[in-house]
Each structure stands twice: as C-alpha cells, then as structure tokens.
C-alpha cells in the first residue's frame, strides 16, 4: 500500500508540474498586459519601466522559474489590475464561492435523492414520470439559460427574490458569509438553485436506478414477508445501500460544481472566484489567471488522488495494478 501511495503521489506531482508549464506558457502567450497597466499616452521610459517592474523583460523560462520559486513559498505574485497579492485576492473571494457550492450541492443531494427514491419506488406513478422529465431537462438545458429564466421569473416578474449580489453578510472567524442572515439567504437562493439543477438531475437518476435495483432483491422481499413497514424498509435497507455511490458522487461533484460556478456567478453577479477569473480573462490579468488555473488543477489532482487512494484502500486489486 505504501508503495502505491508513493507512486500515486509522484504521478500527482508530475501532473502538477506539467499543468503549471502548460498554464504558464499558455497564459503568457495571450495579449500584452503592459498596454492595460500603463496609460495609452505614457512615454517610452514609463513603458519600459513598467515592463521591467512586471518582470516581462526576462526570457520566458526565467519568468517561469521565478514564478515557480515564488509559488513554492506561497507567493503567486501581484495582480496587475488590483495591485494586491493574488493569493489574498483569491482567498478574499473564496468564501463566497465555497458557500454557494456547498449549499447548492447539499440542496441537489437532499432534493435529488428524495425525488429519485420516490421515482424508483413508484416508477410508474405520474409524479415519477414528471420527475424524470424534469431530470432530462436538467441535463439538457444549459446552466446559464436556467439562470436567466430564474431571474426573469423570481426577480423580474414576481419580485420575490433579488437577482444579484451577496446581500447582508456576517463576519464569522474573520470571513464574511451570507448564509446566516435572512437577506443573505434570499440572495443565495437563486444562484444556489441554478447551480444545483444539473447535479439534482444526476442525483435523481442515480437514486432512482439504485432504488429500482434494490427493490427487486430478495432482501426486500424477505423484509416485507417479515412484516416490516415500508417506511422502515426504505430507511434501513434501501437508503443505506444507495448511500455509498451517492457519497462518492457527492465528493466528486463538489469539484466540478466549482467549475460551473463560473457561469452562475457571472449571471448573478456573485462576487466569488468564478467572477474573478472571468474578469481577469477580460482584463488580461495574467497573475490571477495563472494562480486560479493552477489552484483549480491542484484541487482536481488532489480529489483524484484521494479517490484513487480510497478505492485502493477498499479494493486490493487496484493496489496490485490488476484491475486497470
């Protein structure tokens, strides 16, 4: 097992090294940030001074190694636009995104699993068919379009909920959060629902197929024969058995929901990391782009590493490399 862990750690480190080169070179191939940092009527001297200050006069490979050296000491450089250390900029935006992602994945799981269990328990009921139609729509319709319709319905036509921003926030442990206040909850409702719909569709399908399979097994037949109530059967036997795959997907989806948050945050002007990356792309703020991409890559590599290790801990065939 130790050998496997070391092997996977080396692989993960190699992937991160490759990703950092690709991201760095890729981002540095785009546009010339000097034109954005200095005023258009600046003299040649000011221009060259800016180039030197940003380190853009060095050859690319030296810029890369300076960057990597900084990153290893926790320094991702300073934003060209905000003139603030990138890491603190991202850290300042992170709570908004984390809050949004956690709430929406939680909603998706709770609502999705309940609907899915019902649809699997009574597969031919009209409501179950409606639920499945909903999940097909949830899969097909692009996230940004759902967001627009939510704004149009709940913010513009009905006027029940605000269409953007974080609302009133509360300071907890030095970080601002929206969810503890009523106003904050009202602001988070629409973006969270928007982000949750796709995951909800997936959870519905997962729970439904799991329940349908388990309901046909002998376990359920014997439990019914023993006179156990349907509610107890569902709770004790069915839910317990479908829990494992749902928890796995829950973990994996946390990562990909972060990616979709980019779209949702843009629509609802939610001041999180996703909005930051879109803004930095349009403003050519290279340090922020590089840092965001590398941190995201690190997040996904870590998630994959943990999933691999968890499977290896459960299934010895994975460790020995038999089941590939």
């Amino acid at each position: 097992m130790l050998g496997f862990v070391i092997q996977r750690l080396i692989q993960a480190a190699a992937v991160m090294a490759v990703m950092s080169v690709i991201v760095f070179v890729g981002v540095y191939a785009v546009g010339n940030p000097v034109d954005i940092v200095i005023p258009p009527d600046a003299t040649q001297d000011v221009r060259e001074e800016a180039i030197r200050r940003l380190g853009l006069d060095l050859p690319l490979w030296r810029q890369y190694f300076l960057f990597v050296g900084g990153v290893l000491q926790g320094d991702f450089g300073r934003s060209f636009i905000y003139n603030e250390p990138v890491l603190s900029l991202i850290a300042g935006r992170a709570p908004a995104t984390i809050e949004l992602v956690l709430i929406s994945v939680l909603c998706a799981t709770v609502i999705g699993v309940s609907l899915g269990v019902y649809a699997g328990y009574r597969p031919h009921a009209p409501l179950a068919r409606a639920i499945m139609a909903l999940s097909v729509l949830g899969f097909s319709v692009p996230t940004f379009w759902v967001g627009l319709i939510l704004i149009l319905t709940f913010a513009v036509s009905l006027g029940w909920l605000p269409a953007g921003g974080r609302g009133e926030t509360v300071l907890i442990l030095g970080v601002r959060w929206s969810f503890p206040t009523l106003d904050g909850l009202a602001h988070i409702a629409l973006p969270a629902l928007n982000l949750a719909l796709f995951k909800m569709a997936m959870m519905i399908r997962l729970a439904r197929s799991g329940v349908r399979e388990i309901m046909l097994t002998d376990t359920i037949r014997f439990a019914r024969a023993a006179g156990i109530s349907e509610a107890t059967i569902l709770r004790r036997h069915v839910l317990k058995l479908i829990a494992a795959p749902i928890i796995t997907v829950f973990g994996l989806e946390l990562g990909s929901t972060l990616a979709f948050a980019v779209v949702t945050e843009t629509i609802f002007s939610w001041p999180g990391m996703g909005k930051l990356i879109i803004d930095s792309i349009t403003l050519l703020d290279r340090p922020v782009m590089v840092a965001y991409l590398i941190l995201t890559a690190l997040l996904f590599v870590t998630i994959n590493l943990l999933v691999d290790l968890a499977y290896a801990a459960i299934d010895p065939r994975v460790r020995s490399g038999e089941a590939r």
Binding site: V15, G26, V27, A29, V30, V136, L137, F139, S140, V141, P142, T143, F144, W145, L148, I149, I151, L152, A155, V156, A163, G255, S256, A259, F260, V262, V263, T266, I267, I278, I281, T282, M289, L293, T296, A297, F300, I303, N304
Partner: protein, 293 residues
C-alpha cells in the same frame, strides 16, 4: 409492407416506433433546414450593418420596423430582426457543434483505437492522459482554452474539440479493446491481411455504435458549450452573433421587462438541444443489447 431487410431499414423500423424520438428527429431536421436556408427565408441579413437601424432597436414582437415588414419576435439592441438573427444564430450553432463533434470524433476514435490496437507503453500513455483529462470538467477546459486562443470560429472549435475528444477516445478504446480480444480479429490478424485493413474493415465498424451514440450527445453538448462561452463573451466575435451572444445582448434589458430579446433565442437553443438529446436517447436504447426484444 414488405419486411425490412438491411440493417439500416431494421434500425429505421425500430426508430419509427418511438413517437417522441420521431418528433424530435423531425424537429432536428426542420431546424437544420431552416438554418441551411436561412439566407433565403430570413427577412433580413443580420450581419449586414447597412440594413440595421438603431431606430428599430429593442422593439417588441409585432413591431413594424423601418424595413416595412413585421418583426414577429421583435428586435435586439442593435436593431436586428430577431427571427433573422435566430436563424443565422442557429446556423452558427449547428456549424460549430457539428464541426467540433466531427473533429473530436475523428481525433478521439483514432487515439482510442490506436491505443487498443497497438497496446504497450503507447496505450498506457494515451489512456492515462485521457483519464486525466476526463477528471477535469469540460466547461472549465473550454473556458480556459477559448480565453487563451482568443475569439474566432477556428479557435472556438479547437477549444470545444480539446474539451470533448477525451469522451470519444474513452468510448473508442473501451469498444476496440473488447473487440480486439475477440476471435475474429485474432483470425484476421493471423492472415496476411495488413494491419491497416484489419483496423479499418474489422475493428472500426464494430466500434461504431457506441461512438455514434456519444457523437449525438456530444454535438448537443458542443452547441450548449458554445452558447455558454459566447454568453460569457469568450466565443465568437461580436459582429457574428450566435445564439449565446444574442441571449447575452438581451440580458441587460431583462430587468426592464424587455425579456423577448433573450427569451426567443434561448427557446430556439433549448428546442435544438433537447431534440438532439431525445434522438440520441432513442439511438442509445436501440444499440443497447440488454433492451432489445
């Protein structure tokens, strides 16, 4: 009616039985035709700035503009007739979706079949890279790539292909490595037939069904991704509005109740995507041996 005999006729006979899928196919065909013949049926060329008038901008459906005809779905902030803009937008969406899907299919199938056929280190290398890529959400890849490559059709297609080829590679690899071990391939390889012939005549045709299924889904996904990127302002240049950009253009006016600018292009987009997905679902069910009667 005579009994159908060829595989295609049998497939069609099965397909016809699902009314929903048949209606969806008709819808896809209708939209495709409308998009192809857009220059003939659209009342206006939305890319021709000379025909646009700001006097006509943001007018509600039914408005008779300076062109002398009724804007059935209203006009957008630049004064484009929305019917024309949607028809031309569908054209772009379908072109990009089909082009990205076709290139991703070719690239992915080549990599997947090559990995399964050649084996060894190359197989491990290719599939490791593909698996790695599959662990990243495609929307993030497409977003980053289109930001890096800049605006334009080719750049957009490249970004979509990079985000999607891995699904084809995974599918082709799965099918090809299963076929590769079967006796008929071993037998074909034992004869003096060239390896290329075995791959193209024996291996590839048997990998086609799952690839066709993935292709329909991925074309729908490419259209949806393209719309998302254009909505975020990362897709196509502004002078050629795709559906996503039309929706984005209308977004600021939504709050003031002028919702038609965003809503109608969106409806066209959704109908197209859902119809393709419904056709894809039926094709998948028909290829699935477990559901066959």
């Amino acid at each position: 009616m005579s009994a159908p005999s060829t595989p295609l006729a049998l497939f069609w006979a099965d397909f016809r039985e699902n009314r929903v899928a048949l209606a969806a196919l008709a819808m896809v065909a209708l939209i495709a035709l409308a998009a192809i013949f857009a220059p003939l049926i659209a009342p206006q060329n939305p890319y021709d700035l000379a025909t646009l008038s700001l006097m006509d901008a943001r007018r509600p459906p039914g408005f008779v503009g300076s062109g002398g005809y009724v804007h059935l779905l209203g006009t957008d902030p630049q004064g484009r007739d929305l019917v024309s803009a949607i028809l031309y937008g569908l054209r772009i969406s379908i072109q990009i979706g089909v082009a990205a899907g076709a290139v991703a299919l070719t690239l992915g199938a080549t990599l997947g079949v090559a990995a399964a056929y050649l084996g060894g280190r190359l197989e491990a290398l290719i599939m490791r890279a593909v698996d790695l890529q599959l662990s990243f959400p495609p929307i993030l890849l497409a977003l980053v790539l289109s930001a890096l490559l800049g605006q334009g059709r080719l750049q957009l297609i490249a970004a979509l292909v990079a985000a999607q080829y891995a699904y084809f590679a995974r599918t082709a690899y799965g099918a090809a490595s299963a076929e590769r071990r079967k006796d008929y391939v071993e037998a074909a390889l034992a004869t003096p037939l060239s390896g290329r012939r075995v791959v193209f005549r024996h291996l590839l045709p048997n990998c086609a069904p799952p690839l066709i299924v993935v292709a329909t889904v991925q074309i729908a996904n490419a259209i949806s991704l393209e719309a998302t990127l254009s909505f975020l302002g990362l897709g196509l240049p502004v002078n050629e509005p795709s559906l996503g950009m039309l929706i984005a253009n209308g977004f600021p006016y939504m709050m003031s109740g002028r919702s038609w600018i965003s809503v109608y292009p969106g409806v066209a987009l959704i109908v197209l995507i859902v119809a393709i997905n419904l056709v894809g679902d039926q094709v998948r069910d028909q290829f699935n041996p477990r559901l066959r009667r």
